[in-house]
């Protein structure tokens, strides 16, 4: 009897890490999950303990393998998908992180970013790396650590400390850590630093210099889909065969392999990615350019991305910050206690606004408050904020690509919310479709890992695994949609120019970008 083999995926996310095991038909056979602590040491700061994350992932791999009754030899490969941009710097000899990891949502680099933008504008690096200057990306976070940690720059220049996003940190630890661990990143993660040249797919020396980052601390840039090495810890012999940023992994998991195919993942933040094929396409409407994936030995595939910072985390804030619900899904129950938003809009510009606005000085607002508003209306406004923010990036994408989106493929934790999914279909005026496996980030990582070792022959085999699990059709009156969208846009205007820069506080106000 030929014994069945499986593929494993780790999804190292913003709020939790997961490990899933899939069979040859892409069906989930085991899952284990663990949350990690969020540190908010100051307003605008968000940190993770990289050691805690590594320990969690190590346990999850063991648990998932045990639940499925598998040993390393039963698993063809491990694919890692991870929260992007979150920055770890560690000591290559001891493996100890230098302070906590700076999370993608963290805005501590605002001043630094403004300073960099002063010479040449927020888009000065865009043609090289595809990104506007923003606190979101890893480069400024590395620079901040180098500036603020005594002696760190010297250590970096001497090659004593290493930088990595989460996949780099995990692969280094899995493959031996201080004892010969491989220091690598994949093109999708590397592209989120502002240091990667989109054309050469290698570190761009001019960008590193402008950002003030010693190249010795940077990992080697590799394709997303290739054998990185064998685990020496946790599950010795397990081959690590793919790494992708979580959003690119979701695009892959949704089998958006052809130009023009798009998906949006609804988690802590939400991210709409559109496959643009082998061409690098630059946006004129506030989207960013990013590699979608690169199979070892092949040319990369690119994507346009609309990044929305705050969607699920607004629900989390509603739960933890305001205490109006006790679990995230209850937001739907609460929202259904009322008919509509009662005229109330919430724009969650908690870390400024990302796509398509890119305004780091914006801050959140709740507008339209009257004594009529109840917590039910607020709950609706929370869910609607995700709908309208999606509408904004879809509009940008339609304008950039010249072709209107015809359906939206969705995934992520928020897709269990039917009120939200219906609202999305309503405001986008296109069908919204959820695939059979909602954990597309993990599916994508697994597909990539399996593809690397020939477990799946090609992309077409994977495409056949995609099935529709749910569908929501638009049903909103067009005039009503129009009016509500206008109200939303007026609400967005009220978030802008809120945080003043030091030189603005007394004098006139200038637009911070450009």
């Amino acid at each position: 009897m030929v014994s069945e083999r499986f593929v494993m995926a780790v999804d190292q996310g913003t709020t939790s890490s997961r490990c899933l095991v899939f069979d040859h038909r892409g069906r989930m056979v085991a899952v284990s999950q663990r949350e990690h602590r969020q540190y908010y040491p100051r307003p605008g700061w968000v940190e993770h303990d990289a050691m805690e994350i590594w320990r969690n992932v190590a346990k999850l791999i063991q648990h998932a393998a045990r639940d499925a009754g598998l040993q390393a030899s039963d698993i063809v490969g491990l694919g890692i998908a991870n929260q992007r941009e979150t920055t770890v710097v560690w000591d290559r000899r001891t493996g100890e992180p230098v302070g906590r990891a700076i999370v993608w949502q963290d805005t501590r680099t605002a001043d630094l970013v403004n300073e960099l933008a002063r010479a040449g504008g927020a888009n000065r690096f865009r043609s090289l790396c595809g990104l506007p200057l923003a606190t979101y990306f890893a480069g400024p976070k590395i620079r901040w650590l180098l500036n603020e940690t005594p002696g760190l720059r010297e250590r970096a220049e001497r090659g004593e400390v290493l930088f990595g996003t989460m996949e780099t940190w995990l692969i280094w630890n899995l493959t031996g850590g201080p004892d010969g661990g491989r220091h690598v990143t994949d093109v999708t993660n590397a592209s989120r630093t502002m240091l990667l040249n989109l054309k050469t797919l290698d570190w761009d020396l001019s960008l590193c210099e402008a950002m003030g980052i010693p190249t010795r601390m940077l990992p080697e840039v590799r394709p997303s889909i290739e054998v990185y090495g064998e685990a020496r810890a946790v599950m010795p012999g397990l081959r690590i065969t793919a790494a992708l940023g979580d959003q690119q992994a979701a695009l892959f998991g949704q089998t958006c392999f052809a130009p023009g195919e798009a998906k949006c993942t609804y988690g802590t933040g939400s991210f709409l990615l559109l496959n643009t094929g082998k061409e690098i396409s630059h946006s004129n409407h506030g989207l960013i350019t990013t590699p979608a994936y690169q199979i070892g030995g092949e040319a990369p595939t690119y994507a346009l991305e609309g990044s929305i910072a705050i969607t699920g985390s607004l629900v989390q804030w509603f739960r933890d910050g305001l205490g109006l619900i006790s679990s995230a899904p209850e937001i739907e129950t609460l929202a259904r206690t009322v008919e509509d938003n009662g005229g109330c809009y919430i724009v969650p510009a908690f870390s400024g606004l990302f796509a398509p606005h890119w305004r780091s000085e914006a801050r959140g607002v709740i507008v339209g408050l009257t004594s009529y508003i109840t917590k039910g209306h607020l709950a609706r406004a929370v869910l609607e904020a995700t709908g309208w923010q999606t509408r904004e990036v879809v509009d940008a994408m339609n304008a950039d690509s010249g072709v209107a989106l015809t359906t939206l493929k969705v995934d992520g934790g928020m897709t269990s919310d039917h009120l939200l999914m219906q609202f999305l279909a309503d405001v986008l005026d296109v069908p919204v479709v959820r695939p059979l496996v909602a954990e597309t980030v993990s599916v994508g990582a697994a597909y990539a890992a399996g593809l690397a070792v020939g477990y799946w022959a090609d992309l077409d085999v994977l495409r056949r695994n995609w099935h529709r699990a749910s569908q929501w059709l638009p049903a909103m009156d067009p005039r009503h949609r129009e009016i509500e969208y206008e109200n939303w846009q007026r609400a967005v205007e009220r978030t802008l120019d809120w945080v003043r820069q030091p030189d603005q506080v007394q004098g006139r106000r200038a637009r911070p970008d450009q």
């Binding site: 209850e330 269990s416 909602a438 699990a469």
Partner: protein
């Protein structure tokens, strides 16, 4: 230090929980003697606990027979015990996996006003045109989900038990006694079936989703054409039964592990 701060289990609460579970597991009413015998406890002890449970509304005593059953307060607690949207969120992964493994549609339901409310629906993965049935209400006695919820839920009130059972096809169970018997079988085997009792040509198999303490808070089913779901004796195929029960257990584990 850690240990000293956490008190050990409270015996009377453990016993109260056992009594509630016993009452929840048997749909009929139970007398004091039966309860104390089942749990191997002194009658006096059981009586004291029952009185307390009665005072908080978790248990009711039938005035004529003197027998006990789960109380209305507990039922109410049951409906707010687990938010339906939370149930869907927790069921998401395993419902998907079940649909993928069986190739059939999957639905999750919970009781609402003695009917079944569909809270989650995964399309049959064959790309055919299907519409979401979330929010639909179904008659409990005519469907697999409903039979599980009836079997593991609270005993029907007298008013409910005197309502006639509506027939939807030639084989819908409309006789109370037959239904009671079938619910007994459901409890014994741990799953329910529906073969053309609601829609001609359709069959379904369902199993209970349990939360903390074993309370059945919902049910999950696979549903499809009779010829695919059943063998030639018109009995659900074992593989479907096994898979539904596995999915139900996986979701139950997830709910039990929740922070309550």
């Amino acid at each position: 230090m850690y240990r000293a701060a956490v008190p050990g289990p409270v015996q009377s609460i453990e016993r109260a929980a056992a009594i509630l579970r016993l009452l929840a597991a048997r749909s009929g009413r139970l007398g004091l003697v039966e309860i104390s015998a089942s749990l191997d406890l002194a009658k006096g002890t059981v009586h004291g606990i029952l009185r307390t449970l009665q005072s908080v509304g978790f248990v009711e005593q039938d005035p004529t027979s003197g027998k006990y059953q789960l109380g209305a307060a507990l039922l109410h607690l049951g409906s707010s015990y687990l938010d339906v949207n939370e149930l869907r969120a927790r069921a998401l992964n395993w419902s998907d996996a079940l649909a993928a493994r069986t190739g059939e549609a999957v639905r999750v339901g919970t009781s609402m006003d003695s009917r079944v409310l569909i809270v989650h629906h995964v399309f049959r993965p064959d790309e055919s045109l299907q519409t979401l049935e979330v929010g639909n209400l179904l008659p409990a006695h005519a469907c697999a989900l409903g039979k599980v919820l009836l079997a593991y839920g609270p005993a029907p009130t007298r008013a409910q038990a005197s309502q006639p059972l509506e027939g939807f096809t030639r084989v819908t169970v409309v006789d109370r006694r037959a239904l009671t018997q079938e619910l007994g079988r459901v409890r014994e085997q741990g799953w329910s079936q529906e073969v053309e009792e609601w829609q001609p040509g359709e069959a379904a198999v369902a199993a209970p989703i349990r939360a903390y303490g074993g309370l059945a808070v919902g049910a999950i089913e696979v549903r499809g054409a009779v010829e695919r779901l059943c063998d030639y004796h018109r009995q659900p195929k074992t593989e479907h039964v096994t898979r539904v029960r596995e999915a139900a257990r996986a979701i139950s584990r997830e709910l039990g592990a929740a922070r309550w």
